[in-house]
C-alpha cells in the first residue's frame, strides 16, 4: 500500500476536520474533566453519524471496508480537536478482535452494533502496570471470567470487552458482554476517557484464542489500536505546535513578538520536527497493516507520537507563560490527553521493548 494518500483519503481528512472543528469546543470539554464517567456525547454522535465507527469494519457486517489508513486520518483530526470519548479506538480494537478471531456467530452478534456505534467496545488486556501481562489478573474457567480488569478505557460505557485472561492452559483471549458487570469508575486526570475497573464475577465469556496465539492476537490488536492512538497523538501534537506558533507570532515581550526569541522559535521548530517524524511513522505504520513488519512499524509510530504529544504539551504550555497554566485557556486538556494517550495501549517503556525484541531478533 502506498503512503501517498489518494483523493478519497484526502477527502476523509478534510471532511472530518471540518466537522470536528465546527462541533468540538473546549468550553464543553473542560467541565467533563471534573465529572467522572461522562463523555462528550456530541463527539460520539458525530462519529456515528459520519460513519467513522463503521469505517474499518467489513461490509458484510455493516462496515465500510476501509482500513487503518482512513481510520488514522480521522483519529488525527480527533486528536487535533481533543476527541471527546475513547470509543472510536477501543470499538475498532474490539471489532477487529472479533473479526479476526471470532466465530461467525460472534461476528453476527457484535459487528453490526460496533459498526453503527450503537454498541461500545472496550479492550481489557492490562494487569497491574503491564499492558500485556504474561499472567493476566482476570481468570478464565468454564466459560466464565473472575477478577478485576483495571482502568479500562471506555469501561464505564462499554457493552462488550475483549480480555486477555488467564486460563488453565495459558492466556485466553476472550470476549464478554458487559451487561451486569460491575464498573468502578476510576477518577482520572482525563475523566472523559471513561476509565473503569471492570469487576468480573462468574461473567459468561467466549474464548477467541488460547496460549501463544492468544498473546500474539492481543499484541496484534494492541498494535492496531496503538497506530490509531498514534495518529490521535500526532494530531494533538500538531494542534499544540500550531497554537504555540500562533501565540509566539502575536504575543509581545520586551517590545517584540516572543517568536523572535530563539528559545521560543527553536523550540517550536523542534516540535515541528517531532510532529513530522510522528506523522511519517504513522502513515507508514497504517500502510503496513498485515505486513510482516507491522508490529515494528506500529511501535515506531507509537514511540514517536508519544514523544511528540508529551513534548508539545510541555513546550506549548511553557511558551504561553502564566496564561498557559490557567484552567480557562484549556491547554491542560491537551496536556492531560497527552498523558492519558501515552498510557493507553501501553507506555513508551512497553513499546521500546516490543520494538527492540524485534530489531534484535529476540521475538522469534
Amino acid at each position: 500500500m502506498t503512503i501517498l494518500h489518494d483523493e478519497g483519503q484526502q477527502a476523509i481528512a478534510t471532511e472530518s476536520r471540518r466537522v470536528l472543528e465546527a462541533r468540538m469546543r473546549k468550553e464543553e470539554l473542560l467541565p467533563l474533566l471534573e465529572l467522572e464517567g461522562r463523555y462528550h456525547e456530541g463527539f460520539w454522535a458525530t462519529a456515528k453519524e459520519q460513519g467513522w465507527t463503521a469505517l474499518a469494519l467489513p461490509e458484510s457486517h455493516g462496515g465500510l471496508a476501509l482500513g487503518l489508513v482512513e481510520l488514522g486520518l480521522i483519529a488525527h483530526q480527533a486528536g487535533r480537536t481533543l476527541s471527546g470519548a475513547p470509543f472510536l479506538t477501543s470499538g475498532f480494537g474490539a471489532a477487529k478482535a472479533i473479526e479476526l478471531y471470532g466465530s461467525d456467530a460472534q461476528k453476527a452478534r457484535w459487528l453490526p452494533g460496533l459498526a453503527s456505534g450503537d454498541s461500545i467496545g472496550a479492550i481489557a488486556f492490562a494487569s497491574g502496570a503491564d499492558p500485556l501481562p504474561a499472567q493476566p489478573g482476570v481468570r478464565f474457567a468454564d466459560g466464565r471470567l473472575d477478577g478485576i480488569a483495571p482502568a479500562v478505557s471506555g469501561g464505564v460505557a462499554a457493552d462488550v470487552a475483549i480480555l486477555l485472561s488467564a486460563g488453565a492452559d495459558g492466556p485466553v483471549l476472550a470476549v464478554a458482554e458487559l451487561a451486569g458487570v460491575e464498573r468502578r469508575t476510576v477518577a482520572s486526570f482525563d475523566n472523559s476517557r471513561c476509565l473503569a475497573d471492570l469487576v468480573f464475577a462468574g461473567t459468561p465469556a467466549a474464548r477467541l484464542e488460547t496460549g501463544g496465539a492468544a498473546r500474539d492476537a492481543a499484541l496484534h490488536i494492541l498494535a492496531l489500536q496503538a497506530v490509531v492512538t498514534a495518529h490521535e497523538q500526532t494530531g494533538g501534537a500538531e494542534a499544540l505546535m500550531e497554537i504555540a506558533r500562533d501565540y509566539a507570532v502575536t504575543r509581545k515581550a520586551f517590545g517584540q513578538p516572543i517568536g523572535a526569541f530563539q528559545s521560543i522559535k527553536h523550540r517550536i521548530a523542534e516540535l515541528y520536527g517531532l510532529v513530522e517524524l510522528a506523522r511519517a511513522n504513522c502513515i507508514h505504520a497504517a500502510a503496513r497493516e498485515g505486513a510482516d513488519d507491522f508490529i515494528t512499524a506500529a511501535a515506531a509510530a507509537r514511540l514517536s507520537a508519544t514523544e511528540a504529544y508529551d513534548s508539545a504539551a510541555r513546550d506549548c504550555v511553557q511558551i504561553h507563560g502564566g496564561i498557559g497554566v490557567t484552567w480557562e485557556i484549556g491547554l491542560h486538556l491537551h496536556m492531560r490527553r497527552a498523558r492519558s494517550l501515552a498510557l493507553e495501549q501501553g507506555s513508551t517503556l512497553f513499546w521500546e521493548d516490543i520494538l527492540v525484541d524485534r530489531l534484535a531478533g529476540e521475538d522469534a
Binding site: 497491574g128 502496570a129 499492558p131 483495571p150 477518577a187 486526570f189 491542560h332 498523558r339 498510557l343
Partner: protein, 401 residues
Amino acid sequence: MSDLEAWRAKAAAWCESMVPQFGKAARKGLSVEEDLALGRRYQKAKFDAGFAGINWPTDLGGQGLGHIEKIAFEAEEMKHGFPNVYFGISLGMPVPVLMQFGTDREFVKERVLKALQGEEIWCQLFSEPSGGTDLAGLRTRAETDGNGWKINGQKVWTSWAQYSDYGVIVVRTDPTVAKHKGLTYFWVDMKAPGVTVRPIKLAGGDSHVNEVFFDDVRIGDDHRMSPVGGGFAVAMATLMIERYVATDSAGFGPHLDLFVDLAKEVRLNGRPAIEDGRIRQQIARNYAMRAGLDSINVRARLMMQAGMTPGPEGSLNKLVAVRSRQKLSELAIDLQGAGGFAFDAHASPKDDWASSWINAPTGRIAGGSDETLLNTIAERILGLPQDHRPDKGVPFNEIPA
C-alpha cells in the same frame, strides 16, 4: 545524642502528636475554607510549641535557632501532610522582607507575631499580566496623593491573595525614567477599599493564585519599604530570599525516595522496575542532579553563616529541579501503567506523582520562567550580551504596549 539529634527527636515527637488533629486523615473531605481554618489552628499550635520562626530572632517571636534546625523540623513535618501550605509564601518571603525593611518596628513586631501564629497571612504582589516575567516592566502605578500614595493597576499570579490580610507590592512611581529605575516597594492592606481579589483556576483544578485589582487604593507614605524609585533592589532582595531559603532540590515535587519505592513496587517485564536500566538511569541522574543542588545550598548556607557571600550558583535550583521533576513525574505515571491514570485534584504535589506532574508547568513559569532564569544566568553571571531589546533605555511611558 547531639543537640541537633535531640532537637530532631523532639520535633518528631511533637509532629507525631499532632497527627490525629491535623494529619491527612483529619483533613480529608474538608473544603478549602475549613482546611484553612484547621491550618490556622495548626500554625498556632506550632507557634505555641516553639516550632514557628525557628531561625528568626526571638524579639520578633522567633526561636533564634539556625537554619539547620529549621531544616530538621521541616523534614519531620513534611512526613505528615499538615495544612501548612497557606503560610509558605507568607512566612517565606513577605514577612522576612518586612522584618528586614519595615521601618515602624512596633508595627513590624505585631505583624510578625500574628503571621507566625497563623492569624494573619501575607502575599507578594509582583507579577503583572502585561509584564510576563519582566519585573522591571511593571505597569501598576502609585501616584502621590496628599501625604501618601494612590495605587492603580493589576497584579496577577498572587498566591493566597484571597486569604491574605496584607501584601508587599512593587509599583511604578515614575514612568518617565528607564524601566527598573521608576519602581517603589510598599506594603498594602489587602482589605482596603479598592482592592479586588479574583481567584484564578489553574490547570490542575485548584485556585490558590489570584488576579488582584487596585482601583484608587490609598496608602500612607509609612507603607513605603524602599526609597522612592528604589523598589527594584528590595524586590531583588525578596527574590534572593526565595533563592537561598525557599529552595528544594526535589523541585517542590516528590522526594526521589518515593520514586525508588515506586520502582521497587512496580514490575516491568515480569521483574521489579528498579532492575530496568531505563529506570535506574533516571534515578541515578536525578540523584546526581539533586545531590549537586543540595551541596550548593549547604555550601551557600555555610558561607552565609561564615559571613561570606554565596556564589550565584544558587539560582540554578528552580530551573534545574522543576524541569526535571516534570519529566520524572511523567515517567512515574508511565511506570504505573493502568494505575497511572488515577488522579485526586486535592493531592499534594510533594507526594503524589500525578499532582506533581500537572502542577509542574506552573512551577516552571511562576517566580521567573525557565527562559528568564537562563537569561539571568547568561547575562548577570556569565556576562553574555542581552537579547535584542527594542525597549531598552527607553522611558517607560514611551515603550509601545
